[in-house]
Each structure stands twice: as structure tokens, then as C-alpha cells.
């Protein structure tokens, strides 16, 4: 039977090929929306080098933490997880370099530094995609939810929040929306964000087997999950907005409004990611 022999002839090298394919696929899927956003190209030209350094330096330990939970390996030691992150970065660099070159973003007319910075900026989300792509997510074999501790739950939130925050933050619309919102709009957006996050929290708690029915205090899941996810979204939103220079020269009220606008997607991403990862 030819179809059976195909399945049985999987050699150890095929596993590696499959992984390379998954890493590239993950980097493309995760990174493409940002690679096709004009603001991200221009950010590559004018971003403060210090801020990009901070983004990279924060991304490495966060990615190691994510690598720990996504179940690519059984062994969870630091060296293996760090290696995974650097492998993911290599794919992230390659994919963003090839895509930006194909899209005509990279050019000989730009200084080498501007080209390198553009690739690096896009490599951050693309690497996260490569890291997630290599994991068992979506392959049907991924079932580690029962082993997760609280730290792992937070890392899952980070993935979801980063995914949506990085997609939305570079756009002009974040600042534009904040201009057209009054304080009442901001307040109602905050409440609506928390409500949607809480709904995802409840749905997710059934999906992941975590039950808060024996809650020690009323609304325990709200404090234990929704508020933590909100905090994760808040911190990542502030980081991403600062890196992209969206908080510069703004009044405190304006910063609050811009941050709340970004927390809307980031918070929902944080709360909903448990359903996917």
C-alpha cells in the first residue's frame, strides 16, 4: 500500500524538515500583518535605537518563558529553551529580511543601518511566530494545559496580548482614536474591555479545566484571571507604545487614553489566548 508506506517511511530528518517548515510558516503568519503595515517600515527608519534594544532585551526572557510552556520539548531546562528562542530569531530574521526585500521596503538607497533596523524590528514578532509555529499548537498532540502553573498561565496571556498589541500599536489609528474619545468614551471602553475579557476568562476556564467554582471569595476569577490579564495587557501596551514612540510629548491624560485604546485589543488577546494555546 503506497499511502501507508509513505507514513511509515518518515525518517528522523523528516521531523527536522517539518519543523523548519513550521517555523517559517509561523514567522510568516505572525509577522505578515506588521510587515505589510507602512508605519512599521517608517518606524524602522526613525525608531530610537535605545528603545529597540530594550524591546529585544525584554523579548528574549519573555520568549524563553513562552518556549517553556508551548510544549515543543519535554525537557524544560533553560539551555534548551534559550536555544529554541535563538533558532526562532534566526527564522524571524530570515523571514522578515526576505519579505521586506520582496516588498521593496529594503533598498540600497537606504543606509545599511536603516535596513538592518527595519529587519530587526520586524524580526521580533516574526520570531514569536516562529517559536509558536514550531510548537505542537494546532497539531492535535498539544495538551499540556493540566501541567500549567500560574506563571505559565501568565505567559499564555503575554502571547495573546503581544500578538494583538504589536499588530495594532504601530498604526496611526491608535492615536487618532484617542483624539476623538472623551473621558466618558475612555471609561466605557475600559468597562467594555474588562467585560469581554471576563467572558473570555470564564469560557477559557472551562476549556483549560481550571474551575473557579470553589472560589474562596465572590468574583474570585475576576481578580485571579481578568485583573491579571488586564495588568499583563497594560504593561505590554505601555512597553509597545513607548518603543514605537506613541507616548512621546503627550499629556498624562492623552497617554491614559492612548494606552486604554491599545489595552482594548491587547487585553482581549491576553484573556482569549488560553482558548487557543
Amino acid at each position: 500500500m503506497p499511502e501507508i508506506s509513505v507514513v511509515e517511511s518518515l525518517k528522523p530528518g523528516d521531523e527536522s524538515k517539518r519543523e523548519v517548515g513550521r517555523a517559517i510558516g509561523g514567522a510568516v503568519i505572525f509577522g505578515l500583518p506588521m510587515m505589510m503595515t507602512g508605519e512599521m517600515w517608517w518606524l524602522g527608519f526613525y525608531i530610537d535605537p535605545e528603545r529597540l534594544v530594550v524591546l529585544i532585551l525584554i523579548s528574549i526572557p519573555v520568549f524563553v518563558g513562552i518556549s517553556r510552556i508551548i510544549g515543543f520539548r519535554e525537557s524544560r531546562n533553560l539551555a534548551d529553551n534559550s536555544l529554541d528562542v535563538f533558532v526562532a530569531y534566526a527564522f524571524g530574521f530570515a523571514v522578515s529580511g526576505i519579505v521586506l526585500l520582496s516588498l521593496g521596503v529594503l533598498s540600497l538607497d537606504n543606509s545599511a543601518g536603516a535596513n538592518l533596523t527595519s529587519v530587526m524590528l520586524q524580526a521580533v514578532p516574526a520570531s514569536l511566530g516562529a517559536l509558536l509555529g514550531r510548537s505542537e499548537i494546532g497539531s492535535g498532540e498539544h495538551d499540556r494545559t493540566d501541567e500549567r502553573n500560574y506563571f505559565d498561565e501568565i505567559m499564555v496571556m503575554v502571547v495573546g496580548a503581544l500578538f494583538l498589541a504589536l499588530n495594532v500599536a504601530p498604526t496611526e489609528e491608535v492615536v487618532l482614536i484617542s483624539y476623538q474619545m472623551s473621558a466618558w468614551h475612555t471609561l466605557s471602553l475600559l468597562i467594555f474591555t474588562l467585560l469581554v475579557m471576563h467572558i473570555f476568562g470564564i469560557v477559557g476556564s472551562y476549556a483549560s479545566g481550571t474551575k473557579y467554582e470553589e472560589a474562596p471569595v465572590p468574583f474570585f476569577s475576576f481578580y485571579a484571571y481578568t485583573c491579571v490579564a488586564y495588568l499583563v495587557a497594560l504593561m505590554l501596551s505601555l512597553l509597545v507604545l513607548w518603543v514605537f514612540g506613541r507616548l512621546d510629548h503627550s499629556s498624562p491624560g492623552q497617554m491614559l487614553a492612548v494606552t486604554q485604546v491599545l489595552i482594548f485589543p491587547a487585553g482581549i488577546g491576553a484573556a482569549a489566548s488560553r482558548l487557543i494555546i
Binding site: V53, E74, F86, Y89, A90, D109
Partner: protein
Amino acid sequence: MDESTGKHDSPATPLWEKLTGAIGFIFICFTLGFLIWSASQAEEHPPEIVISVTDIRQINDGFLVVVRVKNSGTKTAADLNLSGTLSEHGSETETVAARIDFLPPNSSKMAGFFFTKDPSQGTLKFRPLGYQEP
């Protein structure tokens, strides 16, 4: 060391993974080095715009003058407005404008100016009008 029992765990990390990881590590170190170096370049020069004509050609209703616009400062110029003036015998005969959305430091972009009169019959002058910080 973790005791490995799982189905995805191989006793040894494949070589390609180690090599790719090393490449990723080197890229990150190189980029960090470059970024820290460029951040440490203390002196910041505002955009310095140099405009040079690369091509003049006749088109349907007039003439196209293509210029290379170079930024030799250390800061990016956004919304860079340019003007091109054609003068004959000391008096301006035509003034046209062009705009460049982003011009990073040490980078150049091409821009085109459309004139109705023949630029070879007079003196062409190009200058940057203004920009905004991105």
C-alpha cells in the same frame, strides 16, 4: 536537568538546530551592538538635505526633472517638502513642488518635478522647504 520522558524529546539536539540557534544568537548580538553604537553617537545633526539632478527628459506636456534627495544628517525627515525653481535671465519663470514622506539618515530617495518650460533654457534650483520630526 529534567528527566525526559516525552515523545518529542530526542536525546541529542539536532545539529541544524544548534547552527541555526548560533546564527540567531550572532544576529541578535550584532544588531544589539549596532544599535548601542548608533545610540552612543552623541551628536545629533538635524536632517541635511542635498538635492542633485539625475535626469531631465521631455514628456507629453513639458519636462520631467528627476532628482536624488539625500539626507546626510543623523535624524529622519518626515513630510519633507521640496521646491524646484526655473529662472531665466535672473527672474523666476516657474516654481514647482514635490514631497517625500520619509527620508532616513544617510539615505536617499528619488523625486520628480514637472516643469512646463524647458529647463535647459534657464537655471534650475532645488531646495528643501521644511519637514516634520516623525
